[in-house]
Structure formats: C-alpha cells, structure tokens
Symmetry: C2
Amino acid sequence: MRVLGLDPGLRRTGWGVIDAEGTRLVHVANGVITSDDKAELADRLVQLHRGIEAVMAAQEPDEAAVEVSLANKNPASTLKLGMARGIALLTPALAGLLVGEYLPMIVKKSVVGTGHATKEQVQMMVQRLLPGCEIKNADSADALALAICHAHNRETDRKWTRGGEDPLQMALAGRRRR
Amino acid sequence: MRVLGLDPGLRRTGWGVIDAEGTRLVHVANGVITSDDKAELADRLVQLHRGIEAVMAAQEPDEAAVEVSLANKNPASTLKLGMARGIALLTPALAGLLVGEYLPMIVKKSVVGTGHATKEQVQMMVQRLLPGCEIKNADSADALALAICHAHNRETDRKWTRGGEDPLQMALAGRRRR
C-alpha cells in the first residue's frame, strides 16, 4: 500500500510518499508545494490543489493522511490554515482515495513513541524508519511522519475517527483542562 | 454578466445567481448546498465541491463572489469555516471564473446602504432589488446579497482586494480598536 502524507499550509504544504509492505516501510519521495503569496487567495488554493494533483499523478498513492492541525491563536491564520487543510482533504478524496486525519500528538506518538516529541526527534525517527531517505525540508519530514503514522494506525484510527468523536474537539477539550 | 454568490459553511452553503445588465439586476436562481454531517470531513468537502460544480453547470455564471466571513470565537468552528470557504473559493477559480471576496459589512453597505444592517433588512432589500425573486432561505438570501454586492462593486473592489490589503485583517484590526 502506498500512502501520501500531507502537512497542509497555505504558503507551504509538505508531502511525503511511502510504501507500506506489512510492517516494512520504504521511502518513495517527498517535497513541498508552495503557493505564490502575491496571488489572490482563490488562485493560491488552485495552486495547492494542482500541486497535490501533480504529486498524486506522479506517485499514484492508494491512501492519504492529513494533519488535523490545532487552531492557531490568530483567527485570520486559523481561517487560512482551514482553507489549506480543506484543499488537502478534498483533493485526494475527489480522486477516490481514503483520507485519514491525525492529530500532531498521534503522529509523534506513532513515530517517536511519545506525544511530546520535538520536531528534531520526529525528523530523526523518520530518517531511521525510512533508511536512505533524503528529507528535503521540515514540512516534508512532517508529511513523511504522517504517512508512517497512517501505515501504523490506519485500521484502529479509522474506527476511532469514524466513531463520531471529533479528534480536534477532543484535543481542544484536553487543552482547556490543562 | 451572470454572477454566482456563495455564502460558505460546512453544513450549509447558500448560493444565489443574478444577471447584471448595466445597472439592471435580474434574479436567476437561489438555493442551498448541504453536506451530510454524519459523513467524514473529506467526504463533506467533496459534497460541497460537487454541489457548487452542479450549480455552475446548471446556471453558467461568468464570475463569482464569496463572503470573507469573520472568524468565529471557537477555533474548531473557525477551522471548519475556513475549509468550507476554501472549497467555495477553489471551485469557481478552478473553472476559470474571477472570484471576488467581500466582507459582510461591505455586502450590507452595498445592498442596504449601511454596514450595520440587520439580516432582515438585507433580505428585504434583496427582495426589492430582485423583483419577483422567491428567496428560498436565509443562506441563499445572503448569497444573493453577495452577488448584488459584486455587481455593484466589482471594479473598485477588485482594485481594493488586489492592492495587497487583506480585508479580513483590516476588519479584525477594526474590531480590536472598538
């Protein structure tokens, strides 16, 4: 099974593709899709959509995994993140791919073993889990981590997200409790 | 010129189509696109995208106008609104339509004459500006108001939004000042 991980952002959307053969993981490709921040919003969303389409055409993934980013404190940034995430969810779903959603803490737990891992720890473990992989940048490292997380969790996590509980709401509730 | 107005929401996206012939406005159609709130997020976004595509195929608009909604206080709602708005901006832009973005206060000012008009005043003026129009619901009334606003403002507003100032940031700055 080939998995496309997407770490969405309006300016930079990281992507990473891996093959999961049983428990064996193989790196396929990774990179980043950028949008022109001088272009109008609708045109930037078209650039993201076309960029994801181009990656899917080249890499032919079977399933996709998208980060359920937590909300930013700035409401305008949260809206923009929502837009980029909308495109990252829509584009593979339009092509008929199953799309998994994962919270950053689930990705960290799945890749490093703890939900409170640093970016550097995640990147180091991605490198270790995908020997020979040349990680292009921090965004594509996160996208590869998402793809790994999906390969590890797809069965249990699909049940969980389909069970009606919204992982984002759960995380926000947890955050308020702290 | 035929204008499609879109008032985006994940659960309900209002739409309205008008013809603008010089200063004369003629109602064409209006309605609402809904998504199944029991479906997964990616599938709901596909439903919105396909719904907007179906309206465009049936009505053949030349341009589109989308509401630049202000951020909700709940960050999870803001993310969802961002996703729906992303789809509302992407779908007509993908079809090559110019897409205008308007703040609610600009829409109210354009339709009623004051940026602080009530929903009821907007709906009454939409009814008056589009004689014989049967408004299906509050969401499609807002969408028709957006289409009217675009017909009134497209030249000046395009320059304004293309001038580099982000209307959402401007509005949030205004809100903070109050």
